[in-house]
């Protein structure tokens, strides 16, 4: 005699379960199938192609009326079960009462609607079923329709690509820093974003939705940064929520999902559950492969076989035509990784290894070997023998180290000094200029400052192939073979505005760099894109992150700024008070004319800064690769020999330059007469006042090396001094390698060239000053005031937790 089986939910999980069940025992159960949708089971995964128009609904039906009839399934579609009466073993729906011997809950999940005002406006839709798809298609019918997708995960991006395909203007708002952050690392996320943007889809990461607005229907989405994004429809793709209402109301053990054991049984032995509505071993699943495994197990449990569900490895593939992307396993930082990038083709592959076995894999741009790798991951094959060529996949294909250069379009500028593009150089090479000297003679490329020499050589190499032998040039660290100059030029000419973008396009050999390259790249981004790039504190050395100098015992030194070396009795009192209050063991007068408070505890930094701020003082940046001090003498104010107001000029210079980031530290001095009490002639930039004006010299050194400055120009006014100083520092900021002091950089480019750039070329000087000022609009501010706030106290300065307060067990 057959038992009564009631199934709630006619989706993919229950559909597969019924197939398995009928295979095992076609007559064991009388099945009644409830479905909230007015239709039977279809392949929900293929909704994206239906949305994009690549498939029709009929093509994605998996179980049609004939199938249900042939298997004697009583279909109750368009009829939601509202209650489970466990005692009487029956379910209640619009059509009445249905009894069961065994009940299967497969209610799936619903779109998670982010809790903001307006999320219930007409036009705000999820992306779960055919009704959602039809609502979206209707909106797409309207000319110039605008769609905003909230959520840049798998589902959101499929919806975005499909609606874009349907002719809508699509904007994707994503809360995290890069797309599909659960499946992809930043490099692959960057490539994906680039691809979607090239199709006309707008992508905004770090987008915090504030509200959805509209009068009677949705009209726009408002972000926290106050930007507004017009929308005819808003698609919620910010995640799914297991549909557990029936489980909770009937008193089944329910956490995030309805809790099931290995046999898919709930806390009631007559009720089983599977699919997206269940939680197994603390995990809720949203991909189809594990759901099918559940179906297999549940069917066996129903037929009294012993079967156990085991959490499988799940892989992800994005179903967007023309985007090849694959992600599986643990792509976090395991012990080791192998990374392959082909910037020319936009390919990124990353394998993570643990004990000579593949544990994770991310592929973008070329997924042809994904199954080959996935297989090795699943079987846990020892790959130590093939490790050398593993990343090239089954075919062990070759790799082109010149790819970054070869990928540059002909109109990208190689030589910034003389405005020479790659195409001009290639033409010259083809015309017979086959070495660096000849290129310089014919095109002038790399004939001025020479910082693009490496790139010119690589253009030679990629054009001539084997006929050119590249002189060995050292990469900046183990992560790349490129030099600082190469990197700066690539950032500029390819307009790369994030570190992951640069690492991808320049073929970085590691996934997120190292302590050598990251600070350099962060600086280059700041220098090149001051308004667009967000300073990455985690790519900074501790001193620049904590705005104080770390000492050998882990304490810090604090140096407030004394403009031009001037101070007041009030400032000195405030410094003395701070020294007392925070138990400063050592107070030292520095060579840069200010006071160093040494031995400060990290936890005291923000409070001490707040005290110093209150007395009108700001950070002296004594810890930064940036402007340190402008040392002065007292000049005409007091000195018998003073010729100009050296203190006043020093203060003006310091107020102009403070807060700026530079490749290495920068120190200035202004002396009021040639006796040079401020020691201006061993600084990065020094000014000597004379009766007729000011002598400006640069590129001195008084550290590891001792070097006198070289004359830059003699000028008549303070304004000219300031313009020259700013232009020199900006030129240094734009051209020098990270951690090269100005004297080293000038030795490389030549003093003549520097004079040409900023003394002779007045227009260029003005342009440099302007670019510096743009950057300073962001960075001329006091980091102490910024970080001495309750918010920073909570998120940065405070301990994460204090276990000394916990009782021992």
């Amino acid at each position: 005699m057959s038992q009564k089986l009631v199934v709630i939910g006619a989706g993919m999980a229950s559909g597969r379960m019924l197939e398995e069940l009928f295979d095992l025992d076609a007559d064991g159960y009388d099945v009644t199938l409830f479905g909230a949708e007015p239709r039977g089971n279809y392949n929900r995964i293929m909704l994206s192609p239906v949305l994009s128009g690549e498939k029709s609904y009929d093509e994605i039906i998996t179980h049609d009326a004939d199938w249900y009839a042939a298997n004697n399934v009583t279909c109750r579609f368009n009829e939601a079960v509202v209650k489970i009466d466990r005692k009487a073993r029956r379910v209640i729906s619009a059509g009445g009462v249905t009894e069961y011997d065994k009940l299967v809950i497969a209610t799936g999940s619903a779109s998670f609607f982010i809790p903001v005002q307006g999320n219930d406006l007409p036009g705000v839709i999820g992306f779960r079923d055919l009704d959602d798809v039809e609502a979206m298609l209707q909106a797409a019918n309207k000319p110039n329709g605008k769609a905003v997708i909230i959520g840049g995960g798998l589902l959101g991006l499929e919806a975005a690509a499909a609606l874009n395909e349907q002719g809508m203007q699509v904007t994707v708002l994503h809360l995290m820093g890069h797309l599909m952050e659960r499946q992809l690392d930043p490099a692959a996320g960057y490539l994906l974003q680039k691809e979607l943007e090239s199709r006309g889809i707008r992508v905004i990461c770090n987008a915090h939705t504030n509200a959805i607005v509209g009068d009677g229907k949705v009209e726009a989405v408002l972000l926290e940064d106050q930007s507004t994004h017009p929308a005819d429809i808003v698609v919620m793709a910010a995640g799914i929520r297991p549909e557990t209402r029936l489980g909770i109301e009937s008193g089944l053990h329910t956490e995030r999902g309805i809790v099931v054991d290995d046999g898919m049984q709930t806390s009631d032995p007559d009720i089983l559950a599977l699919g997206e509505c269940v939680e197994h071993d603390g995990v809720v699943y949203g991909l189809v492969a594990p759901l099918y495994d559940m179906a297999k197990v549940l069917a066996r449990t129903l037929t009294d076989e012993v079967a156990a569900f085991k959490a499988p490895e799940v892989s992800t593939k994005l179903k967007v035509t023309g985007v090849d992307l694959f992600s599986v396993g643990d792509f976090g930082d395991e012990h080791e990784e192998i990374v392959f990038r082909d910037p020319g083709l936009g390919v990124y592959k990353r394998i993570t290894l643990k004990d000579d076995r593949i544990v994770g894999l991310v592929m973008y741009g070329d997924t042809s070997d994904s199954n080959w790798f996935f297989d090795k991951l699943k079987t846990g094959e020892d790959i130590s023998d093939i490790r050398g060529t593993l990343i090239y996949g089954s075919a062990a294909a070759g790799v082109d180290p010149m790819a970054a250069i070869a990928a540059m379009p002909d109109d990208s500028e190689i030589c910034g000094c003389n405005g020479v593009c790659k195409g001009t150089i290639v033409t010259a090479i083809n015309g017979g200029a086959t070495d660096l000297g000849a290129i310089r003679a014919v095109t002038k490329a790399s004939a001025s400052c020479g910082s693009c020499t490496g790139l010119v050589e690589q253009v030679l190499a990629s054009t001539l192939g084997d006929d050119f032998v590249l002189p060995a040039a050292g990469g900046i660290c183990g992560c790349t073979d490129l030099t600082h100059e190469d990197i700066r030029q690539i950032i500029k000419s390819r307009e790369l505005k994030t570190i992951p973008a640069l690492m991808q396009e320049a073929g970085w050999k590691t996934s997120c760099g190292c302590h050598v390259c990251r600070p350099a790249l962060n600086y280059y981004m700041i220098a090149e894109w001051p308004l667009e790039y967000a300073d990455d504190l985690q790519s900074r050395f501790v001193n620049e992150r904590n705005h104080a100098n770390i000492q050998k015992d882990g304490t810090y030194s604090v140096v407030p700024r004394m403009w031009g070396g001037m101070t007041t009795a009030d400032e000195l009192r405030a410094i003395a008070d701070a020294a007392d209050k925070y138990n400063v063991p050592t107070i030292h007068v520095t060579g840069g004319q200010r006071i160093d408070l040494l031995g400060v505890q990290r936890a005291d930094l923000p409070d001490m800064w707040a005290d110093l701020n209150a007395a009108g003082m700001v950070s002296g940046h004594a810890y930064s690769k940036g402007l340190r001090t402008v040392k002065t003498c007292v000049g005409t104010d007091h000195c018998r020999f003073g010729t100009q107001d050296s203190t006043g000029l020093g203060i003006k210079l310091e107020k102009l330059l403070w807060g700026s980031w530079t490749p290495h530290k920068v120190k200035l001095a202004v002396s009021g007469c040639p006796r040079n009490c401020a020691e201006a002639t061993c600084k990065d930039l020094g000014v000597i006042c004379v009766d007729s004006g000011y002598e400006v010299s640069v590129a001195g050194a008084a550290g590891m090396e001792l070097k006198q400055t070289e004359a830059l120009a003699k000028v008549a006014t303070e304004q000219e001094v300031m313009d020259l100083a700013v232009a020199f520092i900006q030129l240094y900021r734009e051209r020098a390698a990270y951690l090269a002091r100005p004297y080293k950089w000038v030795a490389k480019v030549g003093m003549d060239w520097v004079i040409e750039q900023i003394v002779d070329d007045v227009e260029n000087r003005a342009a440099l000053v302007e670019r510096f000022e743009i950057s300073q609009s962001v960075y001329r501010k006091d980091p102490w005031a910024e970080q001495a706030t309750p918010e920073y106290q909570e998120h940065k300065w405070a301990d994460l937790a204090d276990l000394t307060l916990e009782a021992a067990q």
Binding site: G177, D185, P186, R256, G282, F331, G332, D333, E334, H335, E337, T510, S511, C512, G513, C514, H515, R518, P519, L537, Q538, S539, R540, F541, V542, R545, N546, I550, K552, D553, G554, R602, H795, D799, L800, A801, D802, L803, T804, E806, A807, A808, Q809
Partner: protein, 111 residues
Amino acid sequence: MSNWIDIAALDDIPLRGARVVKSHAGCVAVFRTAEDRVFAIDDTCPHKKGPLSEGIVHGDAVTCPLHNWVIDLETGMAKGADEGRVNTYEIKVEDGRILLDGARLLARSAA
């Protein structure tokens, strides 16, 4: 036996960053890598006791801010030519919360 203590939300630690948990056994640095993996190790470099929590995090390693020793977060071992290791502690993330195994950290306080 493990003694999981909920110490903070994952988001309380910056990506590629670390923060410190105080205990009677000393400070423990809790790291969050670029891919949201978490690690807990003693906040004391085996070389000259530098605060590892202030180092630059790259891959599954941190560079000590004092003398650039690179410490493997998973094993606590110094990488490259340097030799030394720091204690590691069991740690995991559940539902966006960081759970640290207090078994050793609390036990020592009782001793």
